[in-house]
Amino acid sequence: MDAKVEGQAYDIPRDLYIPPHALQVILETTFEGPLDLLLYLIRRHNLDIISIDVSHITYQYIAYIELMEANMFELAGEYLVMAATLAEIKSRSLLPRTENIYDDEEDPRVRLIKQLQEYERFKKVSEEVAQLPRMERDVFPVNMIMPDVKKTHPQPEVEMEELLSAYTQVLKRCEMYEHHTISRETLSTRERMSSLMAQLQEHQFMAFEDLFTFAEGRMGVVVTFLAIMELVKEKLIKLIQAQEYGPIHVSLGGKNDSPNQEMNV
């Protein structure tokens, strides 16, 4: 693990290797990611990135990743990318150097430096932001009892136009529903007469409006109405109204067991 610098033994910094069991704690609580860790090592130990035994560290990282819990995988990936970047830098440094062999875009070193610079700036300023006087920590809101105040809740105003547009929308929606229905089933008066008769045979005495299914839309209602008129004309059913403007009931034509007056249609 020792490197020799011009014949003199030299300790390779080992800080980049962290035992797996400690890493989770350190990574989650101390460092904000691989950039933060690298920045720390560089600042703290005067670490020259080129001098790190990157390949060794890379192996350690891989070993760590294998040991890692599945839920830490994403974090491990980020550290692995960093280890790979360091390894790449290292490998390039071992190649014979020629001037300007990489342009700035390509050189992983330039990229990493830019990243470190940028990150350090924000890391520093975020520490300053953390020190800003903050509500509920450094300054407190003033709580004061209010005088007795009658809270008023003014009610919303509604304009006639709003009401009309609401109603128009209802009508439009019914029409859409109607078209949808009509396309599925052809409503004919005769068919409707039969189904009305069937209903009345079952219930004998029904409210007039219950014969209508509003969801069918205007067309459906018209068909039902025509069907009822037709049935009345054919004396198959009777319309009964107990009092003027009272509810109208319908029964089958044959047995009128109600004393109520019949309605002229």
Binding site: F140, P141, V142, N143, M144, I145, M146, P147, D148, V149, K150, K151, T152, H153, P154, Q155, P156, E157, V158, M160, E162, L163, L164, A166, Y167, T168, Q169, V170, L171, R173, C174, Y177, A207, F208, E209, D210, F212, T213, F214, A215, R218, V221, V222, F225, Q241, Y245, G246, P247, I248
Partner: protein, 200 residues
């Protein structure tokens, strides 16, 4: 040793969300502060005097001292708290318009026209607003309430009678088909009667 006790007490009492007794205030200080209950009481008395002519005051209530905004400024405070009127929902407006044009009508009928349920809160809001009222029950199973609009509704919309409601182009044919049967003879007149005369 705290030499200027008044601003400290001021700060504590202003930050507190309940009245604080002299004893409770005393617990905030430690021995180095050199603050006893007598000093606290003295400082509070001086503070109280210092707020003459200010918008607030320091008063002693049963459980201790508290700051409060002076009652004479209630008017302006209340203007601050006046809420902006909310807008009514589309569902409410639709329900109201259906009742206006198709009254008297049951909730179930409104629902089948709208194709969705009508919440109780909409009906209650409209009743609270005095725009609709129950005018009787429909003689069908369950005897559901029949709703109709009121005079207050007409007043709000500057209408003399329901007849003055604008006619929608498609309205005539729609009405004939879906209006409650009792209205078939003369729909429009019938509508007006429901609104202007008590039903029972």
């Amino acid at each position: 040793m705290i030499t200027q006790l008044s601003p400290v007490l001021e700060a504590i009492l202003l930050a507190a969300d309940q009245p604080l007794s002299v004893e409770r205030l005393g617990q905030v200080f430690d021995e180095h502060d050199g603050v006893d209950n007598k000093r606290i009481r003295q400082a509070l008395k001086e503070l109280q005097k210092s707020y003459d002519g200010k918008g607030f005051e320091l008063v002693e209530v049963a459980s201790g001292f508290r700051f409060q905004v002076r009652q004479n400024y209630a008017l302006w405070v209340s203007r601050l708290w006046q809420e902006k009127p909310q807008k009514y929902s589309k569902a409410l407006l639709e329900t109201l318009s259906i009742i206006a044009y198709q009254q008297p009508i049951t909730r179930g009928e409104i629902e089948s026209i709208r194709g969705v349920g009508v919440s109780s809160s909409i009906i209650h809001t409209l009743i609270d607003r005095l725009w609709i009222r129950s005018v009787g029950h429909k003689e069908v199973p369950g005897r559901p309430e029949l709703f109709a609009t009121t005079k207050a509704f007409l007043d709000h919309f500057n209408l003399k009678q329901l007849n003055d409601l604008p006619a929608l182009d498609e309205l005539a044919s729609w009405d004939e088909a879906t209006m409650a049967p009792a209205k078939l003879k003369n729909p429009q007149q019938q509508e007006i009667e429901v609104v202007t005369e008590p039903v029972h």
